[in-house]
């Protein structure tokens, strides 16, 4: 069984006359659209905007940490900076990133549907997201909030006089946006698959988004209620979390982490899906052990719900529940390990090329392996005592979320850019950006592992001078990283006008989305596809192309 796939000649490709972008004109046609592809683009613009806002806060944090003393800004300004960084990046960037943009755009096409099951609810999700964004920006304008993104009670409820309720409202609304996205995806995958598209013919991107959606639908409401109770405690003085009234402040921790631990899987799972697609495409080979990769996503989603208390090992949970949660944490690490090896072995006997998305995948595999394994440090009870609440946690989290998720997101953006816009991104400069990002990332976050074990606590505006060297390295790296993230903004914008015309299948990928024109029609398919092949069936693709060639000939 072997296949030769050669990339098509793009010089003859033309942009299709009719597509979803030029189907209608005017601002209203975008703001009132029910087309999942247009909504995906709306999301793409919005999350990019918030990404750079959040990035700005990260930059300020790193600048302050350049020197040991708290000299650039006052302590409470610094606290607001890292709080806003966390809130914006997590609730307004990471959670919606892949699902709401790439997922929104490609999930329906991949399963052969004309749209998501509920297009209007999809648009509503985006509006809710924007309202949440407005709340967060309002907080910012009014003077910010300094609870930390974890909203620890009773600090957030009784000891701060910043705009906690406004932010909480924003997060509550953002939560509903993500619930509706998740709900839409689940129903779409269950009910909208094209004839012949069985569950085990679904691309792995669909599986992983499906798993993330389950987490969104079941986890987010618990955060919502916890946030509501915090807001009520602040405003009208109910006392569910207030220790002076007999409330249990640990209850908030339980409710918060019941969502916020699964939330990291909400963030990373869709990224896994992107990696599967890209690895397969650029090795011209089916994903090694499709079933294992699909089920490991589901396993992560299931186990992900039963590990939340590993954020509370030092908070006085009973020793025995700590044991159980540590054990489950070890178990949830296994499916991720499985995926890493499956992706590595997908490359075996492939026919590999090294376009930008593939470079990001290499970056992802390296960084996520480190990020995942350092998670085992934190899941291990005795080690967690030393490491938790230090920069080690910060480094681990960023290795997984930035090194893992953001790399995957960028891989996906580059991979599907030709499909979304009809034009290629410039290969040279984008490869450069990928390498810059990787180097900048390592330089920024690796020193934080070391400084964390040395004992530097997180969320410190000032720190003892012996930690300075590592912090300087980290800040230097952040500068490089910043450049790496700015570059795509420019060359992708440039490519909208000047990029080479892509044609329908520039990578010779097998997904249904690559069998239609780029950019696609509003209704995606001229007629409902009938699926007879499994996912990543390159022989089917080769045969199909042969047939088409004969037709034309």
């Amino acid at each position: 069984m072997s296949t030769i796939i050669s990339l098509p000649d793009q010089s003859t490709a033309t942009l299709p006359k009719k597509n979803y972008i030029n189907a209608e004109h005017g601002l209203l046609s975008w703001l009132l659209t029910a087309d999942h592809k247009r909504i995906a683009l709306l999301y793409l613009f919005s999350i990019t905007f918030f990404f750079f806002i959040g990035g700005f806060f990260a930059g300020m944090v790193r600048l302050e940490l350049l020197t040991p003393a708290g000299d650039l800004m006052a302590a409470d300004t610094y606290n607001k900076m890292f709080t806003m960084h966390g809130i914006v990046m997590i609730f307004l960037f990471l959670v919606p990133s892949v699902p709401a943009t790439l997922g929104n755009f490609f999930l329906p096409i991949m399963i052969g549907a004309k749209d998501l099951a509920f297009p209007k609810i999809n648009l509503l999700s985006w509006y809710l997201y924007m309202v949440a964004g407005v709340f967060v920006i309002t907080t910012l304008v009014l003077g910010g909030v300094d609870t930390g993104w974890t909203f620890t009670t009773p600090l957030s409820t009784h000891y701060l006089n910043t705009h906690v309720a406004t932010t909480a409202t924003g997060i509550f609304i953002a939560g509903f946006s993500s619930i509706f996205t998740g709900l839409n995806f689940i129903v779409t995958v269950h009910r909208m698959r094209a004839p012949g598209m069985t569950w085990f013919r679904l691309p792995l991107f669909v599986w992983s988004n499906y798993a993330a959606s389950v987490l969104m639908v079941l986890g987010t409401p618990v955060l919502a209620i916890a946030i509501v109770l915090v807001a009520l405690e602040r405003t009208i003085g109910i006392g569910v979390f207030d220790p002076t009234k007999g409330g249990d402040p640990l209850l908030f921790q339980h409710l918060f982490w019941f969502y916020s631990h699964p939330a990291v899987y909400i963030m990373i799972l869709p990224g896994f899906g992107v990696i599967s697609e890209v690895v397969s495409t650029f090795t011209r080979k089916r994903v090694f052990g499709y079933t294992a990769v699909a089920f490991s996503s589901v396993a992560i989603a299931v186990f992900g719900f039963f590990v939340w208390a590993h954020h509370m090992f030092i908070m006085g949970v009973s020793n025995y529940s700590a044991l159980v949660f540590s054990l489950l944490t070890m178990l949830v690490a296994v499916p991720s390990a499985i995926k890493i090896f499956n992706w590595a072995f997908t490359m075996q006997k492939g026919s590999i090329t090294f376009e930008t998305p593939m470079l990001y995948v290499f970056g992802f595999i390296g960084l996520f392996t480190i990020g995942g394994l350092t998670g085992v440090f934190l899941g291990s009870l005795g080690m967690d005592v030393m490491l938790t609440e230090t920069y080690f946690v910060v480094a681990h989290f960023h290795f997984v979320m930035v090194g893992g998720m953001l790399m995957a997101f960028l891989a996906g953006i580059h991979f599907w850019w030709p499909k979304m816009t009809g034009r290629m991104y410039p290969e040279g400069v984008s490869k450069f950006a990928a390498v810059v990002t990787f180097i900048g990332f390592i330089l920024t976050f690796f020193p934080q592992f070391v400084v964390g074990y040395l004992g530097m606590p997180r969320r410190y505006a000032a720190y003892p001078p012996e930690y300075q060297v590592l912090n300087v390295l980290s800040t230097a790296g952040a500068t490089v990283l910043g450049v790496g993230y700015m570059l795509p903004l420019f060359y992708l914008a440039w490519s909208l006008k000047y990029g080479a015309i892509a044609g329908s299948n520039p990578w010779q990928a097998t997904g249904l989305e690559w069998q239609i024109q780029s950019p696609p029609l509003t209704e995606n398919f001229t007629e409902t596809p009938i699926v007879t092949q499994e996912a990543y069936d390159y022989e089917w693709l080769a045969k199909k192309q042969e047939r088409e060639l004969q037709h034309v000939g």
Binding site: S2, A75, T244, S326, V334, A337, I352, L454, R458, V472
Partner: protein, 350 residues
């Protein structure tokens, strides 16, 4: 070539402070570092393994060398291998970590007690002998020390990196941590749980001293009143003594020797009188009524500070016999101290 002075300074700084772990200043530290090193070995081996696989495949199977992709479904054997081996390693780490955790949080019975109260943004340490410290803690080397900690306001976290220990300090309940310092010196104390504006200012110094130096220090820095003595005063002035007099007719239980014992409660359960239990009884008496007594004890919520509670707990802990209580009772009677609690009800005869 001229190296810029700034860069030079930076490089020397780097070379002189390139430690990978903090001082090993407690008995736990070497054990924690051993696990830490093992975990990094696991990580390095894992990354090298994955990196080598990816790199080898990327070179061997690049398009120029290998234009034809061979379609492979998967391999149950290989997949089982990379499921079971990581699982085995992770379980091993779990057992090791759990063992270490129990070592860190289960204090030896003979540990010396120090109390810590956290508040925005300072640490107050109270030694049983009446030494009070702020943002500092003096401990002897070679002797287990247990900290019983509580917060007056928000969550804090007491972290001593050189000892590899840390514990959340929570409002409304005691948490404990212990260590056995091995190396005299001064070490960092951090609050690691974000606690508001001056979070990064909630730091201090742990001073480990030779037992002899420590002895000297305790003598020099005592406030003159031990915690138990303070507690005794409170015990009298709050009127505790009128019910807990230890007399056969007293309406409250005799507290002599109560610390550490198992108490039968009126809901049929048994509870151990720990520090936390004693504190909670003073604040929420009606939830902790001993078997055979009436729920008549008033709450002292809002009347005693956390420090006062510590004093009381320390006093009750030290009550081995009723002798002191009786003495205090006699003095307070002669002072005409009015009993605060209603004395209408009597101990129910069993």
């Amino acid at each position: 070539m001229q190296i810029s002075p700034v860069l030079w300074q930076f490089l020397t700084k780097w070379l002189t402070s390139s430690a990978l772990w903090p001082d090993q200043a407690s008995t736990i530290a070497p054990w924690a570092d051993a696990l830490y090193i093992f975990l990094w070995l696991m990580t390095v081996v894992g990354v090298i393994l994955v990196g080598a696989l990816v790199l080898t495949f990327a070179i061997r199977y690049r398009k120029e060398r290998h234009p034809e992709a061979v379609q492979i479904e998967g391999s149950t054997l290989l997949e089982a291998t990379w499921t079971i081996i990581p699982l085995g390693i992770f379980l091993f780490v779990f057992v090791w970590g759990a063992w270490l955790y129990f070592r860190i949080y289960n204090p030896p019975a003979d540990a010396m007690q120090v109390y810590v109260v956290g508040k925005q943004w300072m640490w107050k340490a109270e030694h049983p002998g009446g030494q009070h410290e702020i943002n500092a803690l003096h401990v002897p080397s070679g002797r287990p020390v247990q900290l019983t900690m509580i917060s007056q306001d928000v969550f804090h976290s007491y972290s001593i990196p050189a000892f590899r220990v840390k514990r959340e300090v929570i409002p409304g309940r005691y948490t404990t941590v212990w260590f056995n310092a091995t190396k005299p010196g001064t070490y960092h104390l951090f609050c690691t749980q974000y606690c508001g504006t001056l979070h990064s200012g909630m730091i201090g110094e742990i001073t480990v001293m030779d037992p002899a130096d420590y002895q000297k220090w305790t003598e020099e820095s005592t406030s003159g009143m031990s915690l138990a003595q303070n507690g005794e005063r409170l015990f009298a002035s709050l009127g505790c003594i009128s019910c807990h007099s230890g007399n056969a007719t007293a309406s409250g239980p005799n507290l002599a020797g109560v610390y550490g014992s198992k108490i039968k409660m009126d809901d049929g359960t048994e509870q151990v009188a720990t520090d936390g239990f004693l504190r909670d009884v003073i604040l929420n008496p009606s939830q902790h009524v001993p078997y055979g007594y009436k729920p008549i004890m008033p709450t002292y919520q809002g009347q005693i500070s956390e420090e006062g509670l510590i004093d009381l707990v320390e006093y009750i802990k030290g009550l081995k016999t009723n002798y002191r209580v009786q003495q205090t009772l006699d003095t307070s009677k002669s002072d005409d101290a009015a009993p605060i609690t209603p004395v209408a009800s009597q101990k129910v005869t069993q």
